[in-house]
Amino acid sequence: MTSSAFMYLFLAAAVAGGVGMLALRHPIHAAVSLLGTMLCLAAAYAMLGAHLMAVFQVIIYAGAIMVLVVYIIMLLDLGSDDARAFRSVKVFVGIPAATVLVSVLARLAWHRAAGTEPRPGLLSSIGDPAAAALPEGFGTVASIGRDLLGRYVVPFEVTSVLLLAGIVGAVYLTGRDSAGLKAQGNAVGEGKGTGDGGQAEGAPAGGEEFAA
């Protein structure tokens, strides 16, 4: 009883955080409410016994992604006025998405209340009471680890390669100017001469600056 009370508390807080994220004008306030939502969701996972899920929710979403979001908001110094820039996104993406979500949820709730089965389809398993029966050890570190490194090892590794490619690309795109300069500087410092023209796109500019 207490646990379900806590469950409802966390879920209510998560919903409040989501509403807050949408309603608050200041980006950092919105980010903090999103953080609250994620932490509450993690708590809900934990209450459902999915401890690893909860921890990943905190480590990855709250700990890593939200930190980046907050970081960017701070560094760009976004004020409340900058929220207006995203108005068209809200209108053309947000409203349709919200409409779809609300309609699906309403349909499920309708069927649950009426005690009827929803028509089979893409979302059919969501409301399926049979799906609630979980296998033994669901959500533990061992079971998830076994799935991740056994059954789903190929998608898992492919994803990691994708992420690695993303990281390398980001480093190349953001770091090429300074890399070019550094290469020039090192070359002079070590007395090797310059003119390794094909080195990087940014090299000529840096080299001219150095020569002047």
């Binding site: 410092g189 001469g193 003119g195 000529p204 080299g207 001219e208 020569a211």
Partner: protein, 214 residues
């Protein structure tokens, strides 16, 4: 890439200087050995030094407890080089420590000072305030009616002492300049003249021996 757009850059004229090591470079070559650059052993060595001092002092504390139990706490060997200041004082205070000021006196007890403002002029903290007056003796002519030193502003640099043409102001070794009230930290002429080498301040000697009198 079009070579015309990226011509080979001329080599800097000071290339030889660089290679010969004659020109200053921003690189600060490390003079650490490989063992030192491993860092962790050196960290452990540092920790062992500070740790040994810690344990030595804790041991001395135990020794002190023994002395204290026998009522002879003062005789215990001590590890700390600092003291409980108001209750204790350092016995090894240097004789040339610059502390409180005094005004030296003529034989009749009047200030040697001729109110020339040299100390006030030299003072970097502007803590000396003088009012000059006409002395009845034309041979002296000028003397300080008021001579205030704001000791809380003073930085004890000793410039006043050095600037004084008549050896009238000196810094003693007395360093007890603390007080709870700011008003009490302004030393007036009478206080500065009250220094007397025969009294209790005896241990706080003049750096330059006895003041010239008369």
């Amino acid at each position: 890439m079009n070579p015309l757009l990226n011509p080979k850059l001329p080599e800097p004229a000071y290339k030889e200087e660089f290679t010969a090591g004659r020109l200053f470079t921003y690189r600060n070559p490390s003079d650490l050995t490989l063992w030192e650059r491993l860092y962790v052993p050196e960290v452990l060595r540092g920790l062992s030094i500070t740790g040994s001092i810690f344990f030595k002092n804790m041991g001395l504390w135990l020794v002190w407890l023994g002395y204290w139990a026998r009522g002879r706490a003062n005789e215990a060997p001590r590890g700390a080089v600092t003291v409980y200041y108001p209750e204790e004082e350092r016995p090894d205070m240097t004789k040339v420590n610059r502390g409180k000021h005094i005004l030296t006196q003529r034989l009749n007890g009047e200030p040697q000072c001729v109110a020339c403002y040299m100390c006030a002029t030299a003072c970097p903290a502007w803590c000396i305030h003088i009012d000059a007056g006409e002395h009845p003796d034309p041979a002296i002519e000028k003397y300080p009616v008021r001579f205030d030193i704001e000791i809380d502003k003073c930085i004890f640099c000793g410039y006043c002492e050095e600037a004084c043409p008549v050896d009238a102001i000196r810094l003693t070794t007395d360093y007890h300049t603390v007080d709870y009230l700011r008003e009490r930290m302004v030393y007036d002429r009478d206080y500065l003249l009250s220094w007397n080498p025969t009294k209790v301040q005896q241990e706080h000697v003049y750096p330059g021996g006895e003041p010239r009198r008369g």
